[in-house]
């Protein structure tokens, strides 16, 4: 069993937290060792799963096709993804899908540094599929839950003042690498869930 590398779990994260992340690291010198993106709430992510509304698609390639997709989450924040010749299935989905559409995306976080030193985070999709609204709502609640769990863990590790020495290595790493209060992400969670409430309200009115 130990010989088979374990599959990396797909983290659930809203776009605002995902886009705040910039620090990546490996846990071994092996060339093929997984690369992790450090989430500001103190968790490592080698893979993410997200469901949202595909807003725009564009072929941004110069020589060959290179598709960019923008997926918006309930807070209005966007995930950016890029698929080229090495992600043929995802690229053809971005080519064929007509925005707006609900999509589920499984992919790997990627970072790149711009000329002026900014680090941008994007997703290299493994798969993109069109899904329904119920799947999207389920993802919002699930991502809210997972994010809250990370926030609570972060707070328990760092104490009331938020500056205690964390035992969890990823929480400690997040304290070291980022100066981002996790309170921001709690508010993101509340907003995302409230947006579902608003939708319920609209539906309720429509029923009258």
């Amino acid at each position: 069993m130990a010989a088979t590398p374990t599959r990396e779990v797909a983290r659930r994260v809203f776009a605002s937290e995902f886009n705040d992340a910039r620090y990546t690291f490996k846990e071994s010198d092996d060339e093929r060792a997984p690369v992790y993106l450090l989430l500001p709430t103190g968790e490592r992510a080698n893979r993410v799963f997200l469901v949202g509304t595909l807003m725009e698609t564009e072929d941004v390639g110069s020589d060959s096709e290179y598709w960019q997709g923008q997926v918006i989450d309930p807070n209005g924040d966007r995930f950016y993804m890029y698929a080229g010749q090495y992600q043929p299935d995802a690229a053809s989905m971005l080519r064929e899908l007509e925005p707006p559409a609900y999509v589920a995306v499984v992919g790997k976080p990627r970072t790149y540094e711009t000329d002026d030193g900014e680090v941008n985070v994007s997703i290299r999709p493994e798969s993109i599929t069109e899904v329904d609204a119920a799947t999207r709502d389920r993802w919002v609640v699930e991502t809210a839950e997972r994010t809250l769990e990370r926030i609570q863990h972060f707070q328990a590790e760092t104490g009331d003042e938020g500056d205690g020495a964390a035992v969890d290595e990823y929480v400690a790493m997040a304290q070291e690498e980022y100066d981002l209060p996790v309170e921001n992400y709690r508010r993101t969670v509340v907003e995302a869930l409230e947006s579902l409430e608003a939708e319920d309200g609209v539906e309720a009115q429509a029923d009258d």
Binding site: D89, T129, T135, E142, A144, V190, L196
Partner: protein
């Protein structure tokens, strides 16, 4: 408690049903042998046990390996080469594939099921399907992470007049279906008897080039954001999951002159959706018996209350 007292207590337990004796009686006999006649403790114990066996008119085999076996439930078996006692129902009897094996099958109790093997040379009475037995002195074994028990020459089989509600080993996992692995969709299996290996480019690793038989399956990954579970849908489960029957899959492949279109179509239909599946585990897979698509709106109220409170 002295050493002798411990031995005396164990011996006393073995005979308390058959003989009217006290722990002190047993200890006195042991004491005489060990302290007066300088007999080693193990020999003294054997001798005293034999005396009582004679008195009770019993065979040594009936003792259950000198006693002291742990009485376990099926789910407790987690290490090989342990001598245990177990009370279980014969859930299934399978065909023995070797003359060395008298009976092989599945035992079960409230906690789950476990394979058992009974050797021909042990010369034990036959177990009947559906009957409940008290099995003393069986040995645990392990193969590729799966445990079993072996009945042997010293095993005592006692039919018990009761029924056991056999518990299930099934696990339930849920999450988003984040991957459909290679080897999924329309596959070809070796037609040789008892083979069923999946062919690679028309070849079976055991029987070489053969005319394959089509089958459907999905090797998928369910991910809930914390854990990943590999799940295996057999033909029936794949048809239920995707709505694509084996016949339709064959037609699709025929039209496209390519079997991979089937898996592609399945990916588009099911990837990224949430499912809950139930079934037994085999190796690292959950074999899907039952499935449910999770389309109900998740309860966001409770999460919102939590989010506002921290």
């Amino acid at each position: 408690m002295t050493d002798l007292r411990t031995h005396a207590t164990e011996i006393h337990e073995q005979f308390s049903d058959q003989l009217d004796l006290s722990v002190e009686d047993v200890e006195e006999r042991l004491d005489t042998l060990v302290n007066e006649y300088k007999v080693p403790v193990s020999e003294a114990r054997r001798s005293v046990t034999n005396t009582y066996l004679d008195e009770a008119g019993m065979d040594r085999d009936e003792l259950g390996g000198g006693g002291g076996n742990e009485r376990v439930e099926v789910a407790d078996v987690d290490a090989p080469e342990e001598w245990v006692d177990i009370t279980a129902k014969v859930v299934e009897l399978w065909d023995a594939r070797s003359d060395a094996v008298a009976q092989v099958g599945l035992l079960g109790d409230e906690t789950g099921t476990i394979k058992f093997t009974k050797w021909s040379k042990s010369d034990l009475p036959a177990l009947e399907e559906g009957a409940v037995y008290n099995l003393r002195n069986v040995v645990t074994d392990e193969y590729q992470g799966r445990f079993s028990v072996k009945l042997n020459r010293t095993t005592v089989i006692e039919e018990v007049d009761e029924d056991i509600e056999v518990g299930s080993d099934d696990v339930t996992v849920e999450g988003a279906l984040v991957d459909i692995q290679s080897g999924s969709g329309l596959i070809n299996r070796c037609p040789e008897e008892d083979c069923t290996r999946v062919l690679q480019n028309g070849r079976c690793s055991e029987h070489g080039e053969v005319e394959g038989e089509f089958d459907l399956r999905i090797k998928g990954v369910l991910d809930d954001g914390e854990d990943v579970h590999e799940v295996l849908f057999n033909r029936e489960a794949t048809e239920e999951l995707t709505g694509i029957t084996l016949e339709q899959a064959k037609e699709m492949a025929m039209d496209a002159l390519d079997t991979s279109v089937v898996a592609d179509e399945m990916r588009a239909d099911v990837l990224g959706r949430y499912y809950r599946v139930t079934g037994p585990t085999f190796g690292r897979y959950v074999l899907v018996d039952e499935m449910e698509t999770l389309t109900d709106a998740a309860d966001h109220e409770a999460v919102l209350i939590k989010a506002r409170s921290i």
